[in-house]
Symmetry: C2
Subunit: 333 residues, 2 copies
Amino acid sequence: MPPLKITLAHGSGARSMHQLIDDVFLRKLGNPILEELADGATLDYRGKIVFSTDSFVVHPLFFPGADIGKLAVCGTVNDLVMAGGEPQYLSLAFIIEEGLKFAILEKIVDSVASAARYAGVAVVTGDIKVVENGACDKVFINTSGVGRLARRLSLESVRPGDKVIVSGDIGRHGLAVLAKRKELGLDFNIKSDCAALNKVLVPILKKTSGIRFMRDPTRGGLAVTLNEISAASGLGITIEEKEIPVSRNVEAAAELLGIDPLYIANEGRAVLVVAATDAMEVLALLRKHELTGKASIIGEISMRHKGMVVLNTRAGGWRIIEMPSGEQLPRIC
Amino acid sequence: MPPLKITLAHGSGARSMHQLIDDVFLRKLGNPILEELADGATLDYRGKIVFSTDSFVVHPLFFPGADIGKLAVCGTVNDLVMAGGEPQYLSLAFIIEEGLKFAILEKIVDSVASAARYAGVAVVTGDIKVVENGACDKVFINTSGVGRLARRLSLESVRPGDKVIVSGDIGRHGLAVLAKRKELGLDFNIKSDCAALNKVLVPILKKTSGIRFMRDPTRGGLAVTLNEISAASGLGITIEEKEIPVSRNVEAAAELLGIDPLYIANEGRAVLVVAATDAMEVLALLRKHELTGKASIIGEISMRHKGMVVLNTRAGGWRIIEMPSGEQLPRIC
């Protein structure tokens, strides 16, 4: 029978840690490379690889549509894709608070396993640390990822006239997490958009040639991602409010809370900057896939208002979408 | 003027996070790949690569001989080396507790930078998360690493008669950390052995052919590492107490605390299993370098007492070195 709770001994390098690795991690995530339990995984590569890392501290651990385990896989898979990579291998490092229920850890690792299967990536190396009660908030996860470069993308290739595409409706992840926080007692009936985008985006990256740059609008939402693109490219971005996909539930919840959906984190969305001549083709390919069925051309790169993001409102006016100075919702990823 | 303390806004993806990245991380760790600030770093490889990850939760953050920043670099560099790799690139992911003094973060990043310079590795991608006061213990760091495979090592190649070498005196890291814990008020005058071993070990790996396997005796110390080797190889290990290098200070402190130095964590030591014919050559090469000047052949792999580690004592007796069931000292790495 497995123990009921995680103890400091599970992070000790000793017998109980080996048992935890065997009983939970190898059983759920096993593959020939991971099973070597070497200090590092050996992988075979020719050419350029992409390498990325992300830590996940989301609170609460479980929320509608996903949990910290799925998030940890999707987050790093998506970061690799955004960098033009085809994700293949992940590392998985847990920091666990002593006293965590074993069943919760199992559920999280199950989630990691099923998200990794869906994304077609293998967990090939890992680490477990257990800290005393009070020294962390239940579980933090870091995943790093390695993949083959499918296409070199860069902000330097962005040109005036390029179209800006968002791959789906925005604002779901942040609100799904927020609604689940016990102290708030809200229920918006919104599921996180958390998803691995590699199976949609990598084939499109390979098939088309017009994608200049991609970034996932996570912390700070679409507003931060667009501001990063305009600041780094030195160009302006004009977006049309009416083209930005937002579900009715998200619109209602955001209004209630006084939060702009543009600033809410997403975990299964991408912003693509695409050459104008290829934008319709990329859009059509995106719309064929369930995860990106609501993709939309929301605006374009321009020579005007350089370094700034301007929104043309539904009402016919316009406003500047500012870089926020802080996050409204902490611990959403 | 930089802010005095880290706030949640520093982890928000917004302006203050960008400023933190520019002012601290890029300034101290900058290189062309990191400066792209892409979602992932693009690296060029032909052939086999090694990939490893480790989280660091050491408490306290600063201790004699090192700190969490140096440890985070050395730990992952050493893991890559143990897997037969030549470390080249690191990811760096911080989880920071809100309220951390900015000066402390700067000091840690300085340490990361100087340890990376010493080891000849570049930090090429990273992540920052800030959690609320109380949700973590000041700072946790994850580093993952990528390097070229220098030599494929494996436990399967270990043979009876192979020699077991430890690269230096043991027990310093765990005791240095322990002594620094405020509540204990101890002072053993022991410095952590924390060090990156790649500049010593990779050239030896390339120059000689007799090294079968390497592992760094971190959590659980030499006892756990030797037990892992004997369990996984199915062979026995006999070690000689008189050949195991232990400094006088460590011996005294361990005796005072009733801890066996064999079970204390090290962060700059390696256990090498080497073909008998090559052991003297490897030992001589190790002894030329400051970091491994006290290397010693401590025993050998045998067909007897399979799966077990036996210590021949100074007094002429023997005892079994058991796999411990838990760690005596939590949060030492």
